[in-house]
């Protein structure tokens, strides 16, 4: 066992994938000698040469478009969009071609490619550099959308994404790049399309993914101190969505809160709330609540902390879940109390 940050685990996953499969190529803006803005590709050009890990021009549409061509011809390209919003110039390629090729060719041409995108906020990185763009991709049939929350998952999910016969949008929560954990690499965790229960509890299910999993775990710990046992589900895969794991958990607890950084309106939480309601209607004690970013363009660093879901806001949502007795009776907490905490 050794300690790895998420960034290092991703780097190791790329290195092992390059070594395991000669058809894997890695390219994007400054992923070569510079090693990427977040150093995820550090040292790969030196180890595997410029033929397999190289810099591209500043042309996201071109990067994704050429990756489609490479994949059609039997390569397994792993390309990087330097930041979440830098992926928007490539949006047309992703939606119109990456997502549709297998269907369009009636299964004759699949695209085994991975688009890595550092996403989300929390590092004071302003507009274009703090976006949570997952819903654009999750809404598009034909794509897998995956996001790790731990170094072990970062390694395992990226390896699996590269091996997958279909295109995967691999979202890396940039605020967790430096989060460390003891991992025995190479590691394989649960399959890519499964959600996992990170913490068990009986009172409420907190559903999160990527950057918010750690925050939600923190909130669950704080809730425990107040007598509420929260279960935490880490979705890992946004598309496909693991109904089974989520449904089983909410049926046990009867209450659910979905947490994400992205704007709440039309966000991933809306889809989860709808699905949970459909699957668990007769088990629910309260409406499914969402805690997310506000419906505003990404705010400047000075105001970022208010925009992003915090432990307090998650606890505030838990308080609003129409509790009658149980843990609230034993603790001084009453519904709505959190609202006084405000920001």
């Amino acid at each position: 066992m050794a300690e790895f940050s998420m960034g290092q685990a991703l780097n190791r996953a790329l290195r092992d994938a390059l070594a395991a499969d000669p058809s894997v190529v890695v390219y994007g803006e400054d992923v070569g000698p510079l090693g990427g803005v977040f150093r995820v590709t550090d040292g790969l050009t030196a180890e595997f040469g410029e033929d397999r890990v190289f810099d591209s021009p500043l042309a996201e549409s071109g990067i994704v478009g050429t990756a489609v061509g490479m994949a059609m011809y039997g390569r397994r390209p792993v390309v990087e969009m330097q930041f979440d919003a830098f992926g928007y110039p490539a949006f047309e390629q992703v939606v119109s071609h990456v997502a549709k090729m297998r269907n369009r060719t009636r299964g004759r041409v699949g695209l085994p490619l991975v688009i890595r995108i550092p996403y989300g906020g929390g590092i004071g990185a302003v507009e274009h550099h703090g976006d949570s763009s997952e819903m654009y991709y999750a809404h598009t049939p034909g794509l897998h959308v995956v996001t790790p929350a731990t170094p072990a998952d970062a390694y395992s999910l990226l390896r699996e994404a590269i091996e997958d016969p279909d295109p995967v949008v691999f979202l890396e929560p940039k605020r967790r790049y430096w989060t460390k954990a003891e991992v025995d690499l190479p590691v394989r965790t649960e399959p890519m399309d499964r959600a996992v229960v990170r913490r068990t509890g009986t009172d409420v299910t907190l559903i999160a993914y990527g950057p918010m999993v750690d925050t939600v775990l923190e909130a669950a710990e704080a809730a425990r101190e107040e007598g509420c046992a929260a279960e935490v589900v880490d979705l890992r895969s946004l598309s496909p969505f693991d109904d089974q794991t989520v449904t089983a958990s909410v049926r046990r607890t009867g209450r659910a809160v979905v947490v994400h950084e992205a704007a709440t309106f039309g966000g991933y939480g809306a889809e989860v709330a709808a699905r949970v309601t459909e699957q668990c209607f007769h088990y629910l004690e309260a409406p499914v609540l969402r805690v997310g970013g506000f419906d505003i363009p990404y705010p400047p660093p000075e105001l970022e902390e208010y925009h992003l879901p915090s432990v307090d806001r998650i606890l505030g949502a838990i308080d609003r879940l129409q509790w009658e007795s149980e843990w609230t009776a034993e603790s001084p907490a009453v519904p709505g109390r959190r609202s006084e905490v405000g920001v």
């Binding site: 070569g32 996201e60 507009e127």
Partner: protein, 422 residues
Amino acid sequence: MRVLPRQLDQPLLRPAVEPGVGAHALASPEQQATAPAFSGSTGPEEADSYVERHTMADTAKPKGGGTTRSTGGRRRSRKDSPSNIADEQPKVLLEYYRQMLLIRRFEERTGQAYTQARIGGYCHLNLGEEATIVGLMTALQERDYLFTNYRDHGYAIGKGMSPRSVMAELYGRSTGAAKGWGGSMHMYDTETRMLGGYGIVGGQLPLATGAALAISYRGGDEVVMCQMGDGTTNIGAWHESLNIASLWNLPVIFVVINNYTGMGTPVEASSAEPELYKRGSAFRIEGVRVDGRDVLAVRDAAANLVERARSEQRPFLLEATSYRMKGHSVVDPAKYRTKEQVEEARSNDPITAFEATLEKAGILTEEAKQEIADSVREEVADAAEFAENSPHPEVSTLFDYTYATPVANESRRMPADPVFAE
């Protein structure tokens, strides 16, 4: 509508650039030989030979293709400025010097404040580009518009924004140009017609082209200047914008600041045609390359193109070669640069060079130098102090400008969310 496709009988190639202005400033003999359309006497009747000569001579790739990493010989040696220093008004020259120094000291202070975590977000400095900025901004009239990329602090000051509002914006304070919401990459001021720094590479090009379209549409006589870095010439928006600008005869100057490095990738490794001023040829846009270290050369080249864009109503491409003194952004250690390259950048400091020229000409006395240094130091200190003491943006402003009306914002808040509980 005024913007009709070009008439077929209109000359497709541009008249020669006037000798002594602009084009020759950096054009070495071999450039003159290989790029007649940009600096020679090509006329309409020579169109075919131009195309042929260009395609044959200029499109041959260097051996090794796009991944050539050699750095030798791609920078031109310094030429004497086209303008004779003796023909210039000393007062004007000293003002250029002062502006350059102001940007230098402002950016040094910015870098310092950023490393002290007083400035958030990302931060890209204009260190080493002072002569280019002052030359370009001098060439613009007050009524002309400016769009830039994210490396925009010096341009904002050069276009007339106060160092106070720029520094306060960098600090993210509510007194900043964009009330603290824009930050380093998004300086914006309608009054001085600085229509924005833009954080996405290439994002500003279609916008600037659109501004020029608006000017053309209403028959105005303003010109739009659109600044970008060398890496931008590879993104789709570049091709779309230059095509539209040329097709519809729009008064826009595309200015490429070529510091030979797109973040960490050398220009030869990203541009199939690394002589960027030639890249307008696909759109029949005349391109000029100028030594960005020379404030007078930049001014002359830019002024010439700006006035021609104004009178002839068509776009131009200006490439200013430049040295980036530091990494791509403040946090970039620039490990991809060799010691020699760093040293080369240092020895090509545009301010030191201009200072020496002015001293040699007897224009910059020891006394004046001290006076300018003092006043610049004071102005920067004042800007920083103003920023330090300015209020932070209020949390209650989070929803203020997402839509024109506050009602719409209210309706999109999360139901029962307690963030702004009374």
